[in-house]
């Protein structure tokens, strides 16, 4: 499965959030929290590559979500020109039967992006919840949750995906595929959040909050999570890259989105069979995937730099 699983790309170092911030922007420590956010925002804005990627990604997402409705051809429509290369009328050419490739890529990108966003949302939600609970309560709760994750990781991803997508496929919904992917990738976020919560919960301000009579829920949401929010944001961003790569791979293998609908992975798979004669059918959908994933990775990198306090450290 080495080339199928894409666990949080660019996860080349442990993410450290920008120092302890108690109070999460409210109450007694509000000023400190706000200035930290300002610093993070400023650092991110200064990261030119990440900013450019953000602009490109937003444009691509907008294009894929609404482009299909605006573009003159529908992705199912068969035009009289078949097998033509890129031209003004068909910027990405047409396929054998005469489908406009641009319309198809827009449709495919729409599905892929929808899945990507949904996976990021769900897996972050589950991951943060499980990770925070395991890290905060430690002991038995932690042991049980972590062993469950270990178990989940021993089961071949592909088996789960294939089996579940067999069931989901009947309904044929991208929603179901997103849920399946989310059910698998949340473990990465859970582990990161757990590790951070484990270390932050020992800090003095958590002790102080407990002494002041705050209950567990309040401590977790007001004191612990604001301190690990940097790591969560970075991990969630990188999850999007993993999600779109897994989705397109599944579709390419014939285990994800299926005909009559389409996805970028499926388009590459179709295009590959005629790669020698109609290379545009292969290049354009692939290029779309690369642009999206590359942008997401650059943004994740920029965010990590922005949250990393090492940036301003000077040896004295």
């Amino acid at each position: 499965m080495a080339d199928l699983e894409t666990p949080a790309p660019v996860a080349d170092e442990v993410v450290v959030p920008g120092g302890p911030v108690a109070g999460g922007g409210r109450g007694e420590f509000g000023v400190e929290a706000r200035s930290q956010w300002r610093m993070v925002t400023r650092r991110f804005l200064r990261h030119r590559l990440a900013m450019a990627s953000l602009v490109v990604l937003v444009l691509v997402i907008l294009l894929s979500l609404v482009g299909g409705r605006v573009w003159k051809y529908d992705y199912t429509q068969i035009t009289p020109e078949f097998s033509t290369g890129p031209s003004w009328g068909h910027p990405m050419g047409t396929d054998g039967p005469g489908h406009d490739t641009f319309a198809q890529v827009l449709r495919g990108a729409q599905k892929s992006v929808q899945i990507m966003l949904l996976v990021a949302l769900f897996s972050t939600g589950i991951g943060v919840l499980i990770g925070a609970v395991a890290g905060y309560y430690r002991g038995k709760v932690d042991a049980v949750l972590m062993r469950a994750i270990d178990l989940l990781l021993t089961i071949p991803t592909l088996a789960i995906l294939a089996v579940l997508s067999n069931k989901v496929r009947q309904s044929g919904s991208w929603f179901g595929i997103a849920l399946i992917i989310a059910a698998l990738v949340w473990t990465t976020i859970a582990r990161i959040v757990r590790a951070e919560v484990l270390s932050v919960r020992e800090k003095e301000f958590v002790e102080a909050a407990r002494a002041a009579g705050a209950n567990d829920w309040r401590i977790i949401t007001r004191h612990l999570l604001p301190n690990v929010v940097g790591s969560i944001i970075v991990a969630a961003t990188l999850t999007m890259a993993a999600a779109i790569l897994i989705e397109t791979t599944l579709s390419y293998l014939g285990l994800g989105i299926r005909v009559p609908d389409t996805s970028l992975g499926l388009l590459v798979s179709d295009g590959q069979s005629s790669a020698q004669t109609r290379p545009w059918l292969f290049y354009f959908p692939g290029l779309f995937i690369i642009i999206i994933v590359l942008c997401v990775n650059f943004i994740g990198d920029g965010l990590r730099d922005a949250f990393d306090p090492k940036q301003t450290r000077v040896r004295a």
Binding site: R43, T312, R315, A316
Partner: protein, 349 residues
């Protein structure tokens, strides 16, 4: 600071170090000059961030790559600043050696202690690897490590903090250097161990006759070990003189304040006089004397004009204060600084 006839052992003049950061340029060292003669011990005192460590790391070529260094630092007349690692290594570790602040992180965790000391000897190219390792054991014995032969085969994590610092001293002494730079050698250690380490330093310094630069924030350590003292504040020296002179007749209010913050057993009944406020940021130094905001003697002139190092009434004693004359004779801190109780003092942030 007199000009000497022949080249001194170590001569630093107008050393400046800047670090470009995201928020602007940090002027960590703003013009440090001193000279060191053979066998002499110079103490450099200051709060953290006063530039005392940075100025020493600069002449060892150990600052991070972004640092901008200017000025001059000469060993026996040879310029050290701006040398490539290859050329610097002729002097570094052989003629000028250094001991660092934190012995817990300064030794490589994956190599045996003896091998790390032996490497320094062997790198000088005189002894073979085997002889270098034998010499390493002798050095460990010299710095007071029991069963040096077997301890040389231990890893750093098997040593206590004090023993690690002894090993660091042994490593620094490996090639019998002329100059030993000790950068806060006792700060990270237990009080009881501190005295032992200082004693070891004094012993090896006495036996080898090396000159020493002792960097510390502890005036007590300096008083016991040094011949002369340089007090640093906000990246530059603010007072310089012999130990006796400077301790008895300080001519700069900051030094007076430092001495007044020092609890003394022989001065029973006297009150401590803490310096209020905190050192300025080296990012945007305001005009005038950097100590002015905390100075009890501050005048208008102090806010507009940064004082140069004035020659004072004592020989070889300079001080950066426009009004050093007002501190004539023996100075007692309680007469200059208001005696404050802890409640009044501004919290140090």
């Amino acid at each position: 600071m007199t000009a000497s006839r022949r080249a001194p052992l170590l001569e630093v003049s107008d050393l400046q170090v800047e670090f470009p950061t995201e928020d602007g340029v940090v002027h960590a060292v703003r013009g440090v000059s001193y000279s060191l003669e053979a066998g002499e011990v110079l103490g450099i005192v200051g709060e953290s961030g006063s530039g005392k460590s940075v100025s020493s790391l600069a002449l060892m070529g150990l600052l991070p790559r972004g640092a901008r260094i200017s000025g001059s630092a000469k060993y026996r007349g040879d310029e050290l600043l701006g040398l490539e690692a290859r050329d610097l290594n002729v002097i570094r570790g052989k003629k000028v050696a250094m001991i660092f602040q934190d012995p817990m992180t300064s030794l490589n965790p994956v190599h045996r202690v003896g091998a790390q000391i032996g490497e320094a000897i062997w790198a000088a190219g005189v002894l073979s690897k085997g002889d270098a390792n034998k010499r390493a054991v002798e050095l460990l014995d010299l710095v007071g490590i029991p069963q040096a032969g077997s301890r040389a085969r231990s890893y750093p994590h098997e040593f206590s903090g004090g023993m690690r610092q002894r090993a660091m001293i042994a490593m620094a002494m490996a090639n019998d250097p002329d100059v030993l730079i000790a950068d806060e050698p006792t700060t990270a250690l237990d009080v009881t161990v501190q005295a032992q380490i200082l004693e070891t330093l004094r012993k090896v310094q006495g036996e080898t006759g090396a000159a020493m630069i002792l960097i510390t924030h502890d005036l007590g350590v300096v008083a016991n070990m040094s011949d002369r003292v340089m007090v640093m504040y906000a990246g530059r020296p603010v007072e310089y003189g012999t130990v006796d002179d400077l301790y008895e007749r300080p001519r700069m209010p900051y030094t007076v304040g430092l001495l007044g913050s020092l609890p003394r057993l022989d001065a029973e009944g006297e009150r401590l006089t803490p310096i209020t406020g905190s050192p300025p940021s080296l990012l945007n130094l305001p005009a005038g004397c950097p100590f002015a905001p905390r100075c009890p003697m501050v005048r208008d002139r102090c806010l507009s004009e940064e004082p140069p190092l004035y020659l004072t009434d004592e020989v070889e004693h300079v001080a950066a204060c426009h009004f050093w004359m007002e501190l004539g004779g023996e100075v007692i801190a309680t007469e200059v600084f208001e005696v404050t109780t802890v409640d009044d003092a501004e919290p140090l942030s």
